[in-house]
């Protein structure tokens, strides 16, 4: 066993951004070489390769580990390099400067705690210098140092450095970003990277890049903010003889202890933390920001992955279906109104659409482009998004970690944004859709009264709901038989089986499902209007699903039969039946209630 005292070094992620060819890779190569962070022989190997190919050695080649990069001479993806100083271990994310690789730049920047932004002293501030500055600020990176590189090409001119500094500072000021430093460097010559620039730039007395990197502050887990934990999953490994029911997730902010009252949003369900679970760890009673943890509750409540767990005794997040966001778009197809997207916030995924574009911003000039009808690739836009069900979130200036969303378009993460404001739901896209539909609904000469008199029933969507295997499908089919035999107009619509199969491949419940409900709602509106008792089954719905189906089928509305445990908190179901009920009793109960409600009249 060694006797050397263990001093654990800090660890920090840094991103390096800037316009193409402004020298990012050279800066990294230098940082690695000058801190002795390269594997033994690597520098010599690359130098030898350059000599063999009769090309001058560049520090940038150290990074270009991939063949195709060496061919093209550019950095394509976010390469990750490790270097260390006396103070810390660093991962440096090399973010490509080409605009086509913006998503790689975003990926690198979103991982980082601090950013180095490189500007070529010779070329000066370019479009991407500004765009990247904007992205870095929008992604929430608070620590930034600007390196004015290639000072050797401008004879280490103080005037040149000062003019670039003034121009770029003015831009950053508009963003409210205050850089930690402006450093004149020559990465190629190694000036002001690790070694000071006394000889070349006696006029500069600030930090070297290495000193500045070490001066960045480590971002600590935010324990002082209200507790927020997106519920990633609920585990119950009963088969393995474990009867704990564990709510798993990563604590984003705050702290929660055994005995704390907690609330899950948007469902609003409440309980109290019983234990904090961990494998191979000493017993603990609290879970703190930053930790992936697991909690058990004192009561058995039915919650789903995707809810936001908060403490009931702390400031609450917002719950809404409409909100104003600032976002940027990386997708090839533009973001358009009326198209369903998937929005991810915390551990929730929900169908969403673009309700309104407030303004599109030119990220390099910070000027707004008015009257755009869609958000195009690389656009930065302020807009209103609307989800089909409420989500829980905080505003980005309150709690950043829960104020961020990404938007998935056709399997790809195409947009990312921060939430600026929660909006009320009046004028929602769905309400507007229903209003317009009903306004232009045109009927033939046959009246509802005539239909009702002929079939002895009014049209209604009858939903049998319950968990998989509860017997709802059997009851639904027998219900059709009995109603039909009694002369009613009825139809069993078994398409849910198909959708259940579609959903089968994923553990989350959202995919395809919103679309299923939407189609069911639109279809039911027509079929029920024409006087039919449309019978169908739905699995694993919640209050919002039923509210939505009711709205979509309106004015004919829905009739809900639940089999087994009732998972609805607010939606009043019409008939409650046990899990796998007796068939005759079930049918009698349903038909009796349909009669009481005036749906059947004979």
């Amino acid at each position: 066993m060694s006797t050397i005292t263990k001093v654990e070094k800090e660890h920090m992620d840094v991103v390096i951004v800037g316009h193409v060819d402004h020298g990012k890779s050279t800066v990294i190569g230098r940082l690695m070489a000058d801190t002795g962070s390269l594997p033994e022989g690597k520098l010599e190997q690359v130098k030898a390769m350059c000599a063999r190919n009769a090309r001058p050695f560049e520090y940038a080649f150290l990074l270009d580990a991939l063949k195709n990069e060496q061919a093209q001479g550019i950095t394509i993806d976010t390469a990750r390099c490790f270097f260390k100083t006396a103070r810390r271990h660093y991962i440096i994310n090399d973010a490509p400067g080409h605009i086509e690789f913006l998503k790689n730049m975003v990926t690198g920047a979103a991982r980082a705690e601090a950013a180095l932004l490189v500007i070529d002293a010779h070329e000066g501030v370019q479009e991407n210098s500004k765009r990247h500055g904007y992205m870095v600020s929008m992604l929430g990176l608070k620590q930034l140092a600007v390196l004015v590189n290639k000072m050797d090409l401008v004879d280490y001119s103080e005037a040149r450095f000062e003019s670039i500094k003034a121009e770029y500072l003015a831009f950053l000021e508009q963003l409210g970003v205050h850089p930690a430093a402006f450093i004149p460097v020559s990465a190629r010559e190694g000036v002001n990277i690790a070694a000071s620039s006394e000889k070349e730039m006696p006029w500069y007395d600030g930090k070297t890049v290495l000193e500045q990197v070490d001066a960045f502050n480590k971002i600590r887990g935010d324990e002082t903010r209200p507790f927020r934990m997106p519920v990633q999953d609920i585990y119950k490994f009963t088969a393995a003889g474990d009867d704990r029911r564990i709510v798993a997730g990563t604590v984003l902010t705050g702290i929660v202890r055994a005995g704390d009252p907690v609330r899950f949003l948007p469902s609003g369900k409440e309980s109290t933390v019983k234990t904090v679970e961990a494998f191979n760890a000493t017993e603990r009673t609290e879970a703190v920001a930053g930790y992936a943890t697991g909690l058990t509750l004192t009561t058995q409540i039915y919650i789903k992955p995707g809810e936001l767990m908060v403490r009931a005794d702390e400031p609450q997040p917002r719950v809404s279906r409409r909100f104003r966001v600032n976002m940027f778009w990386m997708g090839r197809p533009p973001m358009v109104k009326g198209k369903p997207y998937k929005l991810k916030v915390g551990s929730a995924a929900v169908s969403a659409e673009l309700a309104e574009i407030i303004q599109v911003l030119d990220a390099s000039e910070l000027t707004s482009v008015q009257n755009k009808q869609q958000v195009e690739r690389h656009d930065v836009a302020e807009c209103i998004l609307e989800t089909v069900r409420p989500i829980a979130f905080d505003l980005r200036n309150e709690i950043e970690a829960t104020g961020r969303v990404v938007i998935v378009d056709d399997f790809e993460i195409a947009g990312a944004g921060v939430i600026l404001e929660a909006l009320d739901e009046s004028g929602s896209v769905m309400a507007e859709h229903i209003r317009a539909r009903e306004f232009s609904w045109e009927r033939g000469p046959v009246t509802q009264e005539e239909r009702s008199a002929r079939f002895h029933n009014v049209g209604k969507l009858i939903i049998l709901h319950g968990v998989y295997g509860c017997g709802k499908r059997r009851v639904a089919k027998q219900l059709e038989r009995r109603l039909f035999d009694r002369g009613h107009k009825t139809y069993y619509f078994g398409i849910s089986n198909y959708f259940e199969e579609l959903d089968h491949d994923v553990r989350t419940r959202d995919r395809g499902r919103e679309e299923h409900l939407e189609r069911l709602g639109d279809l039911a509106r027509v079929i029920t209007d024409e006087g039919t008792l449309l019978i169908t089954t739905v699995t694993d719905a919640d209050d919002y699903d039923l509210e939505r189906l009711k709205l979509m089928t309106s004015p004919n509305e829905i009739f809900v039969v639940n089999l087994g445990e009732n998972p609805f908190d607010n939606y009043p179901i019409d008939v409650a039946l046990p899990y796998r009920p007796d068939m005759d009793e079930a049918l009698d109960t349903i038909i009796g209630k349909l009669r009481d409600n005036g749906v059947l009249h004979k």
């Binding site: 002795g36 679970e277 191979n280 930053g290 553990r507």
Partner: protein
């Protein structure tokens, strides 16, 4: 929260994300230290359980101690252990140790090909029967579409470009120039049918982090990693014929940690003992584009 806590939490988060999003998911276990730490992290993520099947590709040239260790842990930790192999190539003797093909061709046949067909389920998969302790042909031939892999970005260049969730197409091809963005704990978990996904929970770990974590958590590792009296040990485990020992007298985990932190290996690349990395400049990248881990 120290660095190991941070690394652990991020990996656990990724493992849970993968488990929630993919139905047909498995984890590769090479028996080496990286994937063993990953297995340990899975037990962290799922509170002592490992609900994922573990897949081991047995080239038949693995050092015997590795296989014994694999089966001991599999029984002890109640692991769903699945083993795949390129039986045809082995039967025909089409291997590097038999002198018939090059190192890279051998890796491709015994590892990449075996892996591809084991994951797709079109070659027989052997599954450990816990009541008999024997391997039997698995009746489940469903393809695995999500594969958790223990690569680290500090290992070599192509791995430094990986995403935590990395899509591969049906042929396992990796489009390194067009990878999905990842930000704020949000990963690409939506995939067109037919997409295969590699999930990399250990991307941020370094060799040193792993050994420090093994020390902290007291994770059992194969003792081939230690000097057993001959002044040599393995730093990286692979097939016997292609993996060389390094000169080292580190006899236990704390001594290995010290050796990598500030001792003789502080600045020497880990895979320096792997012969296949040296066969051509981009040998490993070529292999990886074809499905190698």
């Amino acid at each position: 929260m120290n660095q190991l806590d941070q690394l652990e939490s991020k990996s656990v988060h990724i493992l849970r994300e993968a488990y929630r999003e993919f139905k047909s998911l498995c984890m590769l276990w090479s028996i080496g230290k990286d994937s063993t730490v990953m297995l340990w992290l899975a037990r962290k993520a799922f509170f002592g359980h490992c609900p994922l099947p573990l897949v081991h590709i047995d080239t038949s040239y693995k050092i015997p101690e590795m296989i014994a260790y694999r089966d001991r842990l599999a029984l002890e930790w109640n692991l769903n252990m699945i083993v795949g192999q390129n039986k045809e190539a082995l039967a025909a003797g089409m291997t590097f140790p038999e002198g018939k093909i090059t190192r890279l061709e051998c890796c491709k046949a015994l590892k990449s090909e075996a892996l591809k067909h084991t994951l797709s389920g079109d070659w027989p998969r052997m599954r450990l029967n816990h009541s008999t302790g024997q391997y039997e042909v698995d009746t489940n031939t469903e393809p695995f579409t999500g594969v958790i892999v223990g690569v680290r970005s500090d290992e070599e260049g192509s791995r430094s470009k990986e995403r935590y969730f990395s899509p591969r197409d049906r042929q396992n091809d990796w489009d390194v120039d067009d990878q999905p963005p990842e930000l704020w704990n949000q990963y690409k978990t939506d995939f067109a049918p037919g997409t295969h996904v590699r999930i990399h929970p250990l991307l941020d770990w370094t060799e040193l982090n792993l050994w420090e974590y093994i020390e902290r958590e007291k994770i059992p590792v194969v003792d081939l990693y230690f000097d057993r009296g001959e002044g040599t040990r393995y730093r990286s485990l692979g097939c016997g014929p292609c993996t060389a020992c390094v000169q080292s007298t580190a006899r236990n985990v704390p001594e290995v940690v010290e050796e990598i932190r500030s001792g003789k290996f502080a600045n020497i690349a880990e895979r320096s003992g792997r012969a296949q990395d040296k066969d051509d400049g981009g040998g490993l990248e070529t292999l990886r584009r074809e499905g190698y881990m």
